[in-house]
Structures are given as structure tokens and as C-alpha cells.
């Protein structure tokens, strides 16, 4: 397989997907649009979370916390301050980034499993805060959000929201791909692969560990804000432990430490439940068999397996230009 063949396949696939997704609003009905929008949101969440568990290789359960912070921050600014929509959206992303940096601090001192437990506790603590947020966050009953305006365009029905969500998703993935291919991405990967080796090449491990958490918080919070936008409502029930494990599974199933992996994982695990309804417990058992199968036979995930077949598909951490 020459490298050009792999590149051509990659380009053709992404072109097809993009054409299809932008054409979808005209063709498909409300349900398909909603599922595609949820797919985009899960793609951004999985991509954001991949910074920490994929590139940095740290076991962390903070993705739903960042997701919730993004959603709630967006909602609070929209409901209470009346600031324009872009400001609310930006506030959510920055809040997620800051939360990422804060969660990153203990990561410097704690070993693998302790960090996993601290982030799990942080996640449950955030849910308690949403529940008791009273008038600010709408407390237990959640908050109804006003429909936003963006560049004069009213985002009311799903089609308009979907186009905006899709645009943000494409930009987010493009940015993540660029980061992965430039110094910061390479530095995070090298700190994750060998901290002392990276330090011996003048890469400060502390700075890039925190950067990985910050970026993870930033991008996952974008997904959170998009989720609140799509649903038009935010309530504590949406950020449960199940949501956390689903996000984790998406990155693992797709292929950790790659850009395309989490995208595939997010698409698969958003579509799968739609085809599997009404049998109590079946969904849980499907997830466990899916995970077990992958962990035993294809630990590098779907994309990892694909790269093994077509080596030239393997992603480079090089050249933002190429």
C-alpha cells in the first residue's frame, strides 16, 4: 500500500462525509438531524477527552465534569446575563479550559489510579453542585434556555442548530488535528510516552501535562455548550455516571491517541443505541461485549486496527502544513 493510496482513501472518505453532513438538513427528517447533531457533540467530547487519556495516556474520569461545566456555564450566561450568544459560548469554553487546568494540578503529584479516583469524585461532586445550584443553575428541575441568535440567524429549529453545531465540530476537529501535528501535540505525546526522555530534550513535563488537561477541558466544554444549545435545556440528569463511561468507551472503541479514532468511536456509540431499543439490560450487555472484544482482540481500537491494515493511514504528529 503506497502512502498516496492511504492518503487518497482518507481524503475521499472525509470529503464524502462532509458533503453528506452538510446536505443532510435538506434531505433527512428531524430525528436523523437530531442524531447527527448528537453525533457531532459526542465527536467533539471524545476528541477533547482524547488529549488526556489518548495523547497523555493518563487514566482520568473527568470528561463528564468538563462536559457539564461547559453546558452549565453556557446556560447561566445565556439565562442570567443576557449577553449575546457568542459570549456565552466562549465563556463556556474558557470555563472548561480553566477547569481542565485546575484538575491538571493534582495530576502532577498523584499516581495513575489515585488520579482516576480523584477525577471520579470530582465528577460526582459537580453533579451534586448542579442539583443544589438553586436559582443560579436551576437546581434539581434544570433550566429552560432561550433560543440563541448567531450573526443575525435565529437558531430555533433543529436544522439551524445542526448547521451551527456541525460547523463548530469541523473547526474543533481541524484545530485538534493541527495541535496534534505541531509542537504542543508532539510535546504532550512525548511527555506521555517518556517523561524523563522528554525533559532531556528541554520539554518541561509539568507545563505540557497541564496543557493536556487544559485542552481536554476546553474542547469537552465546547461539546457541553453545544449540547445545551441543541437540547435548549440543562438538567443534572444529563451528566450521570453512565454518560461518563459512555464517553470513555467512545475514545477506547475508536482508538486512543489518534485524531480519527475518537471520531469513529463517537459515531458508532451514538448510532448503536438507536438500533437497540426496549430490552432492559441489553444495551449494557452490548457495551460490555463490544468493549471486551475490542480490549482482547483490537486494543488499539477500530482505527488502530484499520491502520494495521493500511499502514499509510497511520496519523503523523508532523507538519501542520501537510
Amino acid at each position: 500500500m503506497s502512502s498516496t493510496w492511504g492518503k487518497r482513501l482518507g481524503l475521499a472518505a472525509s470529503a464524502l462525509v462532509l458533503l453528506l453532513l452538510f446536505a443532510a438538513p435538506k434531505l433527512a427528517n428531524g430525528y436523523i438531524i437530531y442524531i447527527l447533531a448528537m453525533m457531532c457533540i459526542n465527536v467533539v467530547m471524545a476528541t477533547g477527552f482524547n488529549f488526556v487519556i489518548g495523547f497523555l495516556g493518563q487514566l482520568v474520569f473527568a470528561n463528564t465534569a468538563f462536559f457539564g461545566i461547559g453546558a452549565y456555564c453556557y446556560s447561566i450566561v445565556m439565562v442570567h446575563t443576557g449577553l449575546p450568544f457568542p459570549v456565552a459560548f466562549l465563556a463556556a469554553c474558557i470555563a472548561g479550559g480553566v477547569a481542565g487546568l485546575i484538575v491538571g494540578l493534582p495530576a502532577l503529584r498523584l499516581t495513575g489510579f489515585q488520579l482516576a479516583i480523584v477525577t471520579l469524585a470530582f465528577n460526582e461532586l459537580m453533579r451534586w453542585i448542579y442539583l443544589h445550584s438553586g436559582s443560579i443553575g436551576g437546581g434539581a428541575s434544570g433550566m429552560e434556555l432561550p433560543d440563541p441568535q448567531f450573526l443575525g440567524l435565529e437558531l430555533i429549529n433543529d436544522r439551524q442548530k445542526y448547521v451551527f453545531i456541525l460547523a463548530v465540530t469541523v473547526v474543533a476537529i481541524w484545530m485538534v488535528r493541527n495541535i496534534a501535528r505541531s509542537t504542543v501535540g508532539r510535546a504532550i505525546v512525548s511527555v506521555g510516552a517518556g517523561e524523563l526522555a522528554a525533559a532531556s530534550l528541554t520539554i518541561p513535563p509539568v507545563r505540557y501535562k497541564i496543557a493536556a488537561f487544559g485542552l481536554s477541558g476546553f474542547f469537552t466544554a465546547i461539546a457541553g455548550a453545544l449540547f445545551a444549545l441543541l437540547l435548549g435545556r440543562v438538567a443534572p440528569e444529563s451528566f450521570s455516571l453512565g454518560q461518563l463511561l459512555l464517553g470513555f468507551a467512545m475514545v477506547m472503541v475508536g482508538g486512543m491517541g489518534t485524531v480519527v479514532g475518537p471520531i469513529l468511536g463517537a459515531i458508532l456509540l451514538t448510532a448503536a443505541p438507536e438500533f437497540l431499543r426496549n430490552i432492559a439490560g441489553a444495551e449494557e450487555i452490548l457495551y460490555s461485549f463490544l468493549l471486551i472484544g475490542l480490549l482482547l482482540f483490537m486494543p488499539s481500537g477500530l482505527f488502530g486496527g484499520l491502520c494495521a491494515l493500511i499502514p499509510s493511514l497511520r496519523e503523523r504528529h508532523l507538519g501542520a502544513a501537510q
Partner: protein, 391 residues
């Protein structure tokens, strides 16, 4: 590519259903499509049993020739009590299955997530079992709730407690979630406005908690005359058991979430449940004479999941209202006519619920009252005020 397959399938489906709908979406020459959604999986899967009675009733109606010559076709979607999944479920019902009306929703959070969307699409929406007062307040033109909502339940419990001779000290235990709060607040409000007193103790219990000793002890220390509880079924049973274990012998009132017979079976300790009263919306106890007709119906037409109890029966009232409105909407029903008929429904006795249902243009809360189920000298009894024979 995986995604390509989904979209082409979806496009084909959309085209197909577009062909079908000519008179009114969801209505064909000989069928009328009703969409249902309820928590069939996840932690609240127990509430999925609301659908059993409803589907049995629709099957019975179909067996008797259907409505104005049309059979009722039911499409059931799972919402797992999660807002995002509920939105997916209803969108699938409305835009993919293009149902005529939606009859579903048991978790308030899920129903609130879909309320605005269904109102915008003007799809008639009959609430299956959700009790949140926020469903019908602020009112939505297309959303009707046949069951007593949380405000009605809370007020019934307070009035019932205060109907006990010289009762001054009330205590309360509830979940901190949306459902619990939407009963705690009206209870506090009513006690302050009508009876001019406050609760002597107010504790919360986490969903899934297995040990609530501190709560029980705090309640016991406050020496209440009566204790009100707004808890889900499992937690209600744990509460009743722990109360007995730690000698909290005040009478205990349970809310609409946990039916009396199920709670007694779960507590499995007669002297723990000898002073227990639980809010009851049905016309009688599930193993009593009034309900036997419906129990037989479920056995004959439905697919019971274990012993038939309150959950299976509670949905039937709503199903009867839907069928009644479809009959009155005439040979070629439209959504507007259906809603119009519902708005003019007066004192419709379902035989299942303890009170008749009536709706109007500005009041979609069907049942405004309920009774308390308890056992008087060994027999299940539904009472409105405090039984004189009991302390």
C-alpha cells in the same frame, strides 16, 4: 462507510412515510398510530411497567373493532429516564414514525426536555405517568395529564395528615431531585398558608442510599405526630423498614411513587407497615374487586411482567381518555379536533382512577384529588380522611 448506510436508510424511510400520510399524519384508512415513550432500561426501568396496562387496553379496543373502524397501532420507544434520550425517542416518533399523537413519559426530567418541541410541532401529548407539576404549569396547549400531579399529591398528604385529631408536628423526608422538590415545596407552602405551621424536621435522602440512620434519628428526635415521605419505591421501603428498626413509631405517609401493596411486600414485616398510609390514585387496591376487571384485561390482552400491581394499572386512565377523544373526534380525526375534544372533556369516569377526569382550555391537570390506601383491621381500604379507629 457506516454513516452512509444510516442516512440512505433514513431517507428511504422518510420518503415511504411521506407517501402514507394524506389525511392527517399518523392516520390511514384503517389504522391510527400512537407513539409511546417510557423508561424501559436504566435505573428507573421499574416505571416502564406503566406501558403494560396502556398497551393491554389498546389491544382490547382493537379486538373490539378499534375506534371508528381504525385499529390503534402503538410504537414504543425507550427514554431510559434521560433527557437527551427522551428527545431522541420523541423525535423518532414524530418525524420518523410520524405518529398521530404521543402517549408517554414517566420521568419528569425527560418530559420537560420534550415538552417545548412537541408543543411547537403541535403533537397531541397525553402524559403516561409523570407527576411533575411543571408539566401543566405553565400550560401547554397540546399536553394533557390524566394523573394527579406532584402538587395535588403533596397537598393531599398534608390535608390527610392534618385531618388527624390534634396534629401539630409534621416532619418530612424527600429526595433532593426535581421530583422530590416539586412535592416538598407545595407541601411547605400549604402548611404555612392553610394551617399556619412549619415542618418540625425536613431531611433529604439520596437516591440509591442504603443506610439512612441519621435521617431517622433526626426525625425521631423531632418527635413528629406524622411523617410525610416523598420517595421512590425502593427508598420508601428502606425508609419504612429503618423507621421501624429505630423505633420511629409515628404514622408514615407515602406518596404516589410507591404503591401500598408493593411497599408492604417489599418491607416484608407486618408491624413495620401497621401504621402506613400511601397516596392512591386508583379506584381500589390492585388485588381488590374494583380493579379485578382491569387485571383480567391485562392478563388477556397484555404482557404482564410479574404480579400485576399499581404501576400496570395507573396508565389505563390515560388510555381511556385517548380512546374517548378519538371516538368523539369523528371518522376523520385531525390533531386540532382531538385537542379540542380533550379540552371539553368533563367528569369522565375511567373506573380505574379514584376521581373523574376533566380538562378545559386553561386546565390540563385531569385529576385534582386522591385518597390514601392503608389496611383497616386486615383489609385494604382507601380513605379520604384519618380513620377514627386508628390512633
Amino acid at each position: 462507510m457506516f454513516k452512509w448506510k444510516i442516512s440512505s436508510a433514513a431517507i428511504a424511510l422518510a420518503a415511504l412515510s411521506a407517501l402514507q400520510a394524506h389525511a392527517e399524519t399518523g392516520v390511514t384508512k384503517d389504522t391510527i398510530k400512537i407513539g409511546m415513550f417510557a423508561p424501559m432500561t436504566g435505573t428507573s426501568a421499574i416505571f416502564g411497567r406503566y406501558t403494560i396496562g396502556v398497551r393491554a387496553y389498546y389491544n382490547m379496543i382493537n379486538a373490539q373493532g378499534g375506534v371508528n373502524g381504525r385499529k390503534i397501532e402503538v410504537v414504543l420507544e425507550d427514554d431510559a429516564c434521560n433527557p437527551a434520550t427522551a428527545v431522541a425517542a420523541t423525535k423518532r416518533l414524530v418525524s420518523q414514525e410520524s405518529v398521530f399523537a404521543v402517549h408517554g413519559g414517566v420521568c419528569t426530567a425527560a418530559v420537560m426536555a420534550v415538552k417545548k418541541e412537541l408543543q411547537r410541532e403541535n403533537v397531541p401529548f397525553m402524559n403516561l405517568g409523570a407527576a411533575g407539576a411543571s408539566l401543566v404549569d405553565p400550560i401547554a396547549s397540546n399536553l394533557f395529564s390524566p394523573l394527579p400531579n406532584t402538587t395535588v399529591v403533596a397537598q393531599t398528604l398534608v390535608n390527610f395528615a392534618m385531618s388527624r385529631p390534634d396534629t401539630k408536628r409534621l416532619a418530612i423526608i424527600s429526595h433532593p431531585d426535581d421530583w422530590g422538590k416539586s412535592q416538598l415545596d407545595p407541601a411547605i407552602q400549604l402548611l404555612k398558608d392553610k394551617y399556619k405551621i412549619e415542618f418540625v424536621e425536613n431531611v433529604t435522602m439520596e437516591r440509591g442510599a442504603t443506610d439512612i440512620t441519621p435521617q431517622i434519628l433526626k426525625l425521631r428526635v423531632s418527635k413528629p405526630d406524622v411523617v410525610l415521605s416523598f420517595l421512590y419505591p425502593t427508598e420508601t421501603a428502606i425508609f419504612v423498614r429503618s423507621a421501624h428498626k429505630y423505633g420511629l413509631d409515628a404514622p408514615l405517609l407515602g406518596c404516589f411513587g410507591a404503591p401500598y401493596e408493593d411497599t408492604v411486600r417489599r418491607v416484608d414485616d407486618p408491624d413495620a407497615t401497621k401504621n402506613l398510609y400511601i397516596f392512591h390514585a386508583l379506584g381500589g387496591s390492585s388485588d381488590g374487586p374494583e380493579m379485578s376487571k382491569w387485571v383480567e384485561m391485562i392478563k388477556k390482552y397484555g404482557a404482564p411482567d410479574g404480579t400485576i400491581g399499581d404501576y400496570d394499572l395507573s396508565g389505563i386512565g390515560g388510555a381511556q381518555v385517548v380512546v374517548e377523544a378519538l371516538k368523539k373526534a369523528g371518522p376523520d380525526p385531525t390533531r386540532e379536533k382531538f385537542i379540542e375534544v380533550l379540552n371539553s372533556l368533563k367528569n369522565f369516569d375511567t373506573g380505574v382512577l379514584s376521581a373523574p377526569i376533566s380538562f378545559s382550555a386553561d386546565d390540563h391537570a385531569g385529576v385534582k384529588s386522591g385518597e390514601m390506601m392503608t389496611s383497616l383491621d386486615g383489609k385494604l381500604a382507601s380513605v379520604k380522611t384519618w380513620p377514627t379507629s386508628k390512633k
